[in-house]
Symmetry: C2
Subunit: 335 residues, 2 copies
DNA sequence: GGATCGACTAAGAGCGCTCTCACCTGGGGA
DNA sequence: TCCCCAGGTGAGAGCGCTCTTAGTCGATCC
């Protein structure tokens, strides 16, 4: 297919430089050689435009310098509006670039792609795997660990196997948000929770309940799936359940934006009638009307940390298998 | 590093099945063998859990089954809010999955990463490359073509080298939007153009001018960079330049959303005082207040088409080197 | 019944690299 | 002067696969 089918090889560089293959290999890999060899090899490399063949190197070293990021969500959802995944990709990409690794993106929506991913990884195709946003007790981390490949997740696994992970303080963040509402004198504080088969959904609800437990307030809960539409629907449900509510903690900014619209349609003013706090601090949060008070989680940093942890594992280093990043309440106009 | 350092090879499968390596290879690659061989090989493969080594295969076939998607934007912008890139990735990923190829994502912000990408591609690391969202006369497509690797861009190149591309009807879409404003009786129609070193920015401005040329209206132009903030700033500028304007065509939805906010702050009602039309039809467009009338471009389809074209090239097939996808005016509340 | 044909299979030569190990050569100590 | 010790080098053996070239065997044809 390629026009230039035959690229120069180590052999041809060696011939041109008048040294052996091994010496060229040493130069390429930065091992010590005499200055004379060094120079003639470098000249030959430049003249021939030599670039090492990656497959040949991989075959013997068993390193591919490829790192996979697996997003096991239905792809439509991964890439609709939610800037979570782009953010993670961004962070991951920064770290991998620094380590001179390539990023292989695997979107695993269907069963078939699950199988495909397992096969591809078993074929020694990548050196390590990051798994983001697992649902329920996904069998993938266990399967990959069994194959013997380094794995790092975002958030702890819901399954029986424990896998190193990078998480955020969901419970603490949610609790801080609810305390903020309590401190402001709100009395009927509802929540729109995230999906209960994901750590983010579960833990933020836990944080909400924890914070409420100390007070005399009862909990009012609706559940969404992190999308804007589900947030609007959940908000309408809450208004029906308890028309007198005066605050809502929403487990994601996208859902909070949906809730904001539902509140507006219902004629409630934010924050006067109902205070609203989101979670994530996506870019959109600063541009809603009113701007959204929210719990910031360091999305890009999650990606960076995952990559960093994984690179350690790939290099055979030990890591503390749990990293939990802090969350922070960002106060804007909505509460 | 790996726990299971030695995975079964073709050799061991052959030994177990009592046939030669070549026969196993045939079974693995779906070539005809006798039923007896077929069965014993398949049993051996299952028992050993054999998976072909990718590097070894690549070394001889010179195919990696890896396709790169290069996004040569500063990464911060690529992955801030703009759902264009996630959409393209989504489309690309669908097609590649169907063709059993893996996607390598390369974010090329800096000069250094440009070099890194060229090297990696020269090392026969990937079978083909998709380039999205090039700025100005980027040297990358020419460089890759010189290496002899199949390349497909989104939108035509601004440089001297012509590369196969998948574009959209920017001119037609923009013109349709402006005609819609003219038909509604708007008289002072401004535009917020995109960056003038990108096809999307250039062609949408051309479409605006084309549509206006027929009428007696003069053009009123501000330029943004496709971000929300730049849209707001450009809108303020326009209001200063011509306080009497009654319509704006904005070259991206994100900028249009920014413009919407600037108009609100300036006390103009949309669409009563000022009609507004965006471009892209991102998910957000349906949720602004009022919902945004916009020109839809099929973002996911761009990704799919790029992938499909590239796969043809990789397989040595000829393609028509230009695909232009239609755009469509979506009328909502803002105009 | 022997030659011919077709359909499979076995063996072997690489693909381009790394890595081990033996070898060389020059410098310093005895 | 001789020997020993390094650091540096070269030859060769793979890594696991594909693909070409022979070769085998059973079935068909005259």
């Amino acid at each position: 297919m390629n026009v230039q089918h035959r690229r120069p090889t180590l052999e041809s560089v060696a011939a041109r430089a008048g040294v052996s293959r091994a010496t060229v290999s040493r130069v390429v890999n930065g091992l010590p050689v005499t200055t004379a060899s060094q120079e003639s090899v470098e000249r030959a490399i430049a003249e021939l435009g030599y670039v090492p063949n990656h497959a040949a190197r991989t075959l013997v070293t068993r390193r591919t310098d490829l790192i996979a990021l697996v997003l096991p969500e239905p792809t439509t959802r991964v890439f609709s509006d939610d800037p979570f995944f782009p953010g993670v990709i961004h962070g991951v990409s920064q770290e991998l670039e620094a380590a001179d690794k390539q990023l292989v993106l695997m979107l695993a929506g269907s069963e078939a792609s699950h199988t495909r991913i397992e096969r591809s990884i078993a074929a020694h195709h990548v050196d390590g795997v990051m798994l983001a946003s697992l649902h329920g007790a996904d069998p993938l981390p266990a399967a990959l660990t069994r194959i013997g490949i380094p794995v790092v997740c975002n958030e702890r696994s819901l399954g029986p196997t424990s896998v190193p992970y990078v998480g955020v303080d969901n419970v603490g963040g949610a609790a801080a948000a609810v305390r903020h509402l309590l401190d402001a004198g709100r009395t009927r504080i509802a929540t729109i929770a995230g999906p209960q088969d994901m750590i983010g959904g579960i833990d933020r609800l836990t944080g909400y309940r924890d914070a409420l437990r100390g007070s005399s307030r009862r909990s009012i809960v609706a559940v969404g799936d992190f999308t804007m539409d589900s947030g609007a629907a959940a908000m309408r449900q809450l208004l029906e359940d308890d028309p007198a509510l005066d605050a809502v903690f929403v487990a994601s900014d996208l859902m909070a934006d949906g809730a904001l619209q539902a509140l507006r349609q219902a004629g409630r003013r934010v924050p006067d009638d109902v205070a609203l706090i989101g979670f994530d601090d996506i870019a959109l949060a600063a541009y809603t009307d009113p701007p959204l008070t929210t719990v910031r989680q360091p999305i890009v940093e999650i990606g960076r940390q995952m990559a960093r942890q994984l690179l350690c594992l790939v290099n055979g280093a030990e890591i503390e298998s749990t990293v939990v990043l802090p969350t922070e309440l960002v106060i804007r106009g909505s509460a």
